[in-house]
C-alpha cells in the first residue's frame, strides 16, 4: 500500500522557510542595531566637529572666558536635517558663559566630562536630544581654568539615517531570500533528476526483464537501487528454478512414458498371450512408478505454491512416527529391509504442523532410505527431546553419501550421485520444502554405522501452548 505523504519540494520549502525565518529575525535585529550604530557614529562626529569649532573661538579676556559663537558651528550642529541645536560654554564653576537653551547640564555630567568627552541621550521638553560634552584646557594671562563645551541636537537625522540603512539591509535580505528560493527550486530539480531517471527506467522495463539495473545514481540512492537489484535477482532465480523444475519434471515423465510406448508396441507385434501378459506386467509396474513420480511432483508443486493453506494443528510426533513407520513396514517395498523405532520418550511430544505434510515428509525419508540402501539394511526412526527443539531422525546403515554431495542433496532431481536407483531425486527436495514450511531445521550427516542420518529439528510447543 503506497501512501502519498506530502512532496519533497514542500518539505524542503518548509525547512528552508523555518531556517530562513529564524535566521532572518536574528539578521534583521542585527541589521537594525548596526544601522543605529552607524547613524550614531556619523552624527556624533558632527557634534565633535561643532564642539571643536566652538573651542577654537574661546578666548580669555580680563580673567573671564569669552566666546564668539561661530555660525559654522551651529550649521554643523543643525546638519542637513535641520536639527534643533543646543550649545553651552561653561566656566570652571559651571556658570554659563554662553548658551542658547535652558537645558540643564547636571553636575554629574560635568564631573564625567572633566575626565573625558562624554555622549549622552537626554529628554528635554519631551524631545530626545543627543548631547556631547568635553572639557577644554585654555590658558589666559590671569587664569588657567578649564572651560566645558556642551553641544547637542535633536535626533531626526539619526532616525532617518537608521531607517534608510535598515531599509537597505531589509531589501538586501529579501532579495537574498528570493534568490535562495529560486536556487532551491533549481537545485531540487537537479537533485531529484536521478530519481526521475530511475522511475522512467523502471516504467520502460518489460514485465519479464529481470536484468540488474543499468543506471547511474548518487550515493544516497545506492541502497535503494541495490535493493531493487537484489529483488530482481531473487525474482530471476525463482523463475529460473521454476523453469528448471518444469524441464526436469517433463524429462522425468518422458522416460517411463517412452518405456510404456516401447513395451506396448512390442506386445502388439506379438501374437503370444504370454508375451502380452509379460508386457502388461511391465506396463503395470511402469505405470505404478510413473504415478508415484507424478504424485511426488504434485506434492512438490503443492508445497511450493500452497502458501495460503496454513491449516496447522497440534500433532503428537510420537503417534505420527508410530503410525507412519507401521504403515511403511507393511508395504511390499519394505519387505527386504528392517524398519524399526528407537526407544521413544514415554510422554506424547507435541509440535505444530500439517499432518499430511509431516506424513509425506516421513514417507519420503523412509522411501529414500529404502531406495538408496541395499536389501537387508536397517532403518531406524527416533525422537530426541532437546531444550528448545524436538528432533526427529532417521538413519540407515547403508553406503552413505560423500560430503561434497551432501550439501546439495535437497535440490530437486538430485540423486546423491547415484544413477542405479529408480528414484526421481525429488524426495529430499520435498522434505526440505516441508521442513522450511514448519520453520524447522534439517541436518544431513553420516551416521555412526556408516550410513546416512537425517535429523529434523522442530520448534517445541511450550507447556502452555500444549495446554
Amino acid at each position: 500500500m503506497i501512501e502519498v505523504e506530502g512532496t519533497l519540494k514542500s518539505r524542503l520549502a518548509i525547512w528552508l522557510l523555518a531556517t530562513v525565518s529564524a535566521l532572518g529575525v536574528l539578521l534583521l535585529a542585527e541589521a537594525y542595531f548596526s544601522s543605529q550604530r552607524a547613524a550614531e557614529r556619523a552624527y556624533d562626529s558632527q557634534l565633535e566637529a561643532a564642539a571643536l569649532t566652538i573651542a577654537e573661538a574661546v578666548q580669555w579676556e580680563a580673567g573671564q572666558p569669552v566666546v564668539e559663537i561661530p555660525s559654522a558651528a551651529l550649521q554643523i550642529l543643525a546638519t542637513r536635517h535641520q536639527e534643533r541645536v543646543f550649545y553651552a560654554v561653561l566656566d570652571a564653576d559651571g556658570q554659563t558663559v554662553s548658551g542658547n537653551l535652558d537645558l540643564d547640564i547636571a553636575p554629574e555630567w560635568r564631573r564625567r566630562a572633566s575626565s573625558q568627552p562624554i555622549w549622552l541621550n537626554d529628554a528635554y521638553h519631551g524631545t530626545q536630544w543627543r548631547l556631547y560634552g568635553r572639557e577644554l584646557d585654555s590658558a589666559g594671562w590671569e587664569t588657567q581654568d578649564p572651560v566645558q563645551i556642551w553641544v547637542g541636537h535633536t535626533m531626526t537625522g539619526r532616525e532617518s539615517l537608521t531607517e534608510v540603512l535598515f531599509e537597505h539591509a531589509v531589501t538586501r535580505f529579501v532579495i537574498m531570500v528570493l534568490l535562495a528560493g529560486v536556487l532551491m527550486l533549481l537545485a531540487m530539480r537537479v537533485a531529484l533528476a536521478p530519481l526521475r531517471r530511475l522511475r522512467q527506467q523502471l516504467r520502460r522495463r518489460d514485465a519479464d526483464d529481470m536484468q540488474p539495473l543499468d543506471t547511474r545514481v548518487p550515493e544516497e540512492m545506492r541502497e535503494m537501487a541495490e535493493t531493487l537489484d537484489s529483488l530482481f535477482t531473487r525474482q530471476r532465480q525463482g523463475r529460473e528454478a521454476l523453469l528448471r523444475f518444469t524441464a526436469d519434471a517433463s524429462h522425468q515423465l518422458k522416460t517411463p512414458l517412452a518405456g510404456l510406448q516401447t513395451t506396448s508396441e512390442l506386445a502388439l507385434k506379438s501374437d503370444s498371450p504370454d508375451a502380452w501378459r509379460q508386457a502388461l506386467v511391465e506396463v503395470h509396474g511402469s505405470a505404478e512408478r510413473t504415478s508415484r513420480l507424478a504424485s511426488q511432483l504434485l506434492s512438490m508443486a503443492r508445497l511450493r505454491h500452497a502458501v495460503e493453506a496454513n491449516a496447522t494443528a497440534r500433532i503428537d510426533a510420537l503417534a505420527l512416527l508410530h503410525e507412519t513407520a507401521f504403515d511403511w513396514a507393511q508395504r511390499d517395498a519394505a519387505q527386504a529391509h528392517d524398519i524399526g523405532l528407537a526407544s521413544l520418550p514415554a510422554s506424547p511430544q507435541y509440535i505444530q504442523g500439517e499432518a499430511w505434510a509431516l506424513r509425506e515428509l516421513l514417507g519420503n525419508l523412509i522411501d529414500n532410505a529404502l531406495r538408496y540402501t541395499p536389501p537387508g539394511s536397517v532403518i531406524t526412526l527416533g525422537v530426541v527431546s532437546h531444550a528448545q527443539t524436538l528432533e526427529l531422525y532417521i538413519e540407515d546403515d547403508g553406503p552413505g553419501v560423500s560430503p561434497e554431495v551432501m550439501a546439495h542433496l535437497h535440490h530437486p532431481f538430485e540423486r546423491g550421485g547415484r544413477q542405479d536407483t529408480e528414484g526421481s531425486g525429488l524426495g529430499l527436495a520435498i522434505v526440505d520444502s516441508i521442513v522450511r514450511r514448519h520453520e524447522a531445521r534439517m541436518q544431513v550427516e553420516s551416521a555412526e554405522k556408516g550410513g546416512l542420518r537425517v535429523r529434523l529439528f522442530f520448534p517445541y510447543l511450550t507447556q502452555h501452548e500444549q495446554g
Binding site: E68, S71, Q75, A78, R84, V85, N100
Partner: protein, 363 residues
C-alpha cells in the same frame, strides 16, 4: 434690582463680542506694517470669510516677547528679525506645517518645515534730492564710505541708519554686513564721524528724509522705501550695486496656537499661489515663488539688479547672531568703531543717538 439689571447688561455686553469672535478667530502677531500688508490681509479675509483675522502690528522686539507669552499665545508669528524668529523655532515654539504649499516651498526659504521666509525684501540706500546738489549719490558701499569720509562736514547729522541696539532688523543687517567684509567697520567709523542718526525703524528714516532732516539713509527696508518713494518724489531709492542684502520675513505657527486650523489656513495662504500673487502684485514685499507674475517678484528683482542679491541665509547660522556674548561683543565693537574717528574731538557734537546704543532695550 438695578444691580441685577447692570449685571445682565454687563453679561450681554460680554457675550456679544464673544459670539462674534467665537466664529473662527485668528491672532497674528506681526512685525509688518498694516498699510503695506493690507492688500494681502484683505485677500485672505475674502478667501476665508469665516475666519476673524486679528492682525496686530508691533515692533520686532514686541513680537518676540509675545511668543513666550504662556497666558495667551498668538496663532501666527511674523517678524523680520530673522535671528530671533530662528531662535524661537529652535526653542520649539513652532509647529510643523504639513501641507502641499509647505512642501513645495523652496528649501532655502524654510527651516524644518516650521518657519517660512515668505517675502524677499532687498536692503537699500535712500537719498534726498538735496544730496545730489552737492555730491554724486552713492551707488555702492565703497561710494558711501568715500562720500562720508570726503564730505564729513557737509553730511554731519544728515545721515541715518538703523540702531543695532533698538532694532532687531538693523542689528541683523549689520552683523551680516560685517560677515562679508571688515571694511564695514570703516564704514561704521565714518558714520560715527558724521554723527549719523540711529533710528529704530525704516519708517522714521523715511519720514526724516521727506522732512529734510536727513539727506542719506543706509540699510533701509527696500519694501517700505520703494512704496514711500512713489508718493514722495523727493526721496530716491538706490539698490547697492556691489551687493544687496535681502531680508525675508519669517512666519511660523505657534506651538500652542489656540486656533491651529485657522493658523494653517493663513500660512497656506501666505505660501500659496494666491497669497504670493497678491504679494507680487499689490505689496512691495516681493514674492519668493518663481511661478507668480507681478511687479514685485524675486525673479524680477534679480533681473533688474543682477546676481548681486545676497539673501540672509535662513538656517541655523542665524542663531549665532542672538548669542548673548556674541551680541555683546558686536555691540561693544560697534560702539568702539562708531566713536573711533570722533574721539579726537569728544566735546564737539556728541551725537545724541550714541546715548541709546548702550541703553537700548535688549531682547
Amino acid at each position: 434690582m438695578p444691580i441685577r439689571r447692570v449685571a445682565l447688561v454687563w453679561f450681554l455686553g460680554a457675550l456679544i463680542p464673544c459670539l462674534a469672535w467665537a466664529d473662527n478667530p485668528l491672532v497674528v502677531e506681526a512685525a509688518l506694517d498694516r498699510e503695506v500688508a493690507a492688500p494681502l490681509l484683505d485677500a485672505f479675509e475674502e478667501a476665508h470669510p469665516h475666519i476673524q483675522l486679528n492682525f496686530r502690528d508691533r515692533s520686532t522686539l514686541e513680537v518676540d516677547a509675545r511668543v513666550a507669552d504662556e497666558e495667551s499665545p498668538p496663532d501666527v508669528v511674523i517678524s523680520s528679525a530673522m535671528p530671533w524668529q530662528m531662535a524661537r523655532v529652535n526653542e520649539d515654539y513652532a509647529q510643523r506645517l504639513e501641507s502641499p504649499e509647505a512642501r513645495a516651498w523652496p528649501e532655502w526659504a524654510k527651516w524644518r518645515d516650521e518657519v517660512f521666509g515668505f517675502t524677499f525684501e532687498p536692503i537699500v540706500m535712500a537719498y534726498r534730492l538735496d544730496l545730489s546738489r552737492y555730491v554724486m549719490p552713492p551707488k555702492t558701499h565703497a561710494d558711501l564710505h568715500t562720500l562720508l569720509t570726503q564730505h564729513r562736514e557737509t553730511l554731519r547729522d544728515k545721515v541715518t541708519t538703523y540702531s543695532p541696539s533698538r532694532s532687531g532688523v538693523g542689528y541683523t543687517l549689520f552683523q551680516q554686513d560685517a560677515r562679508y567684509t571688515t571694511r564695514f567697520w570703516d564704514l561704521v567709523a565714518a558714520m560715527g564721524a558724521t554723527d549719523t542718526n540711529l533710528e529704530a525703524n525704516t519708517r522714521s528714516m523715511l519720514e526724516g528724509l521727506s522732512e529734510g532732516r536727513y539727506w542719506l539713509g543706509y540699510n533701509l527696508l527696500g519694501s517700505y522705501a520703494m512704496v514711500w518713494a512713489q508718493s514722495h518724489p523727493e526721496v530716491f531709492v538706490q539698490v547697492p550695486q556691489d551687493y544687496s542684502l535681502v531680508m525675508m520675513r519669517m512666519a511660523f505657527i505657534h506651538r500652542d496656537a489656540p486656533h491651529p486650523g485657522a493658523a494653517r489656513a493663513f500660512l497656506d495662504f501666505l505660501l500659496g499661489r494666491e497669497g504670493q500673487r497678491v504679494i507680487a502684485g499689490e505689496t512691495p514685499l516681493f514674492s519668493v515663488r518663481s511661478d507668480v507674475m507681478g511687479p514685485y517678484t524675486a525673479q524680477r528683482l534679480r533681473d533688474q539688479v543682477g546676481e548681486r542679491l545676497y539673501p540672509i541665509p535662513l538656517n541655523a547660522s542665524l542663531l549665532a547672531f542672538v548669542d548673548p556674548s556674541r551680541r555683546a561683543a558686536f555691540m561693544e565693537r560697534w560702539q568702539r568703531e562708531f566713536q573711533r574717528l570722533s574721539q579726537p574731538e569728544p566735546s564737539q557734537g556728541e551725537p545724541s543717538a550714541e546715548s541709546h546704543i548702550d541703553k537700548g532695550p535688549q531682547r
